[in-house]
Subunit: 280 residues, 2 copies
């Protein structure tokens, strides 16, 4: 999969590209069938909502689930990102966000690169967020909201929010958000399961709570240019990965055929991946 020039120009202007139905229902079914098993596990990679036992976000499933390990090597996702950066990429972060029916809580306004810079010492905003919808995203189940063009301002000042949701986040103040939206507007791409969004790691985004009876499970991957790898290992490895080897893609049918993949964390998270290391 190769991006056209007009797509690259649109990405540079707006900070995101939306590809409705990029993956087929059969491909998505393979992934979605794995989610209940992953969410049911009692392991540190599952962060639950403050209101109960429902999973808010799961980390690093590509290291212990074969279907997600294959997705992590999918050319439809990896190739356009490597094309934009002009170099190979590695997996910086891998999440399956629940935003489950009725219980899925909101995510406040933030940029992802802010955290990666502050906590992980990632040198530049040369990492790409990829969202892949495992469920339909509609107006009722808490779609991602983007402020187009907000990525052009680089890393914005942020404050550490440890109270409003169950996951700590560097969030951006209301006055800044108001100005950014006056300037760039607000969009919420919606579409069927199998749709993909590429978005810049400085693009400001949020999502509201899901009060609907429809889950909104999405995979969020962050692919970093290899030369731009993180310099500090402050956060546990299951959140911010330390393997900077370029992703070697599998064939395009890798979600439908059982290509062999390594699953190093299948039997549990290694102790070294739980503890922070201040070396780096």
């Amino acid at each position: 999969m190769k991006l056209r020039t007009d797509e690259i120009e649109r990405f540079e202007r707006d900070g995101y590209l939306f590809f409705p139905s990029l993956f087929s229902p059969e491909e998505i079914a393979v992934l979605l069938a794995e989610v209940p098993r992953i969410y049911a596990q009692r392991r540190p990679e599952n962060v639950r909502e403050r209101t109960g036992d429902v999973v808010r976000t799961n980390f690093a499933a590509h290291l212990y689930s074969a279907p997600f390990a294959r997705l992590a090597r999918h050319p439809r996702m990896v190739e356009p990102v490597a094309q934009i950066f002009g170099e190979p990429v590695y997996m910086h972060q891998f999440k399956i966000n629940g935003k489950m029916a009725f219980d899925g809580d909101l995510w406040q306004w933030h940029q992802d690169y802010g955290t990666w810079k502050a906590d992980d010492w990632m040198p530049e905003a040369r990492a790409m967020n990829v969202a892949i919808f495992l469920d339909e995203v509609n107006e009722f189940n808490g779609p991602l909201m983007f402020i187009p063009g907000s990525h052009t301002l680089g890393a914005l000042d942020a404050a550490h929010d440890v109270t409003t949701t169950s996951y700590p986040l560097w969030t951006i103040d209301h006055d800044t958000i108001r100005k950014l939206i006056e300037r760039g507007g607000l969009v919420a791409p919606k579409g069927p399961a199998g749709s993909m969004i590429l978005f810049h790691s400085c693009l400001v985004h949020a999502s509201t709570a899901n009060l609907s009876p429809w889950n909104r499970v999405s995979v969020y991957l962050s692919l970093c240019a290899v030369s731009n790898h993180i310099r500090r290992f402050k956060r546990p490895e299951y959140i911010a990965h330390r393997d900077f080897a370029p992703i070697a893609c599998l064939p395009d049918d890798c979600l439908l055929r059982e290509y062999e993949v390594a699953l190093p964390w299948r039997d549990g998270t290694p102790a070294s991946a739980l503890a922070p290391e201040l070396a780096g």
Copy 2:
């Protein structure tokens, strides 16, 4: 304003009617200009969000604000409701809900009649909710969500939710909501300031948080058929009114001309309206 037969049939089937831009921008401006003054007051009628000092809902402004006192007697709102019930109506509840930019919290799934029946001993669901948009309502600022047809099931079982938001509410369980939405779908009427929704007091509704920079102030009035007045005065009078006199409408231009209106609570809430009375 007279409803057509097809509108009445639609109301009976869906449980709501939507009238985009029923009030003009000039009429709405008069109301909106009053809101900051009302919200700034330190009186029990202002219920604030759990996160801070922002007003979530204001009660009974029609008893101490001239523009809202005129709205409470507006023929475009009162006449269609009296037409549906076939008798005069009185004001059971009068609210200005903030759902303010960034801070407006969600409202869980509920029916209004459930509370009126349980707490106020209102005999039948012969009271109508009216929502009038003082701000544009869009996909980003927490629109009301309705389950069409859910009013036909009458009062549903509910549980008293005193934890998830700052205002206690009788809410409906997730399994019931799931079944109702499978049967009737889900809608969220959106439109410019000045739009009006009439909705059945058994129609199940909710609204999500407002993370946008746009306020979503709406007036919610509940007009009850006079013969169906409440029988118990358990809740304070500023929440559930005890004056069952039929509303006498003002002329259609009453938001633009200063018709005289009584403002009995202008100088504060009478002690009798704060205390519950278990007589009734």
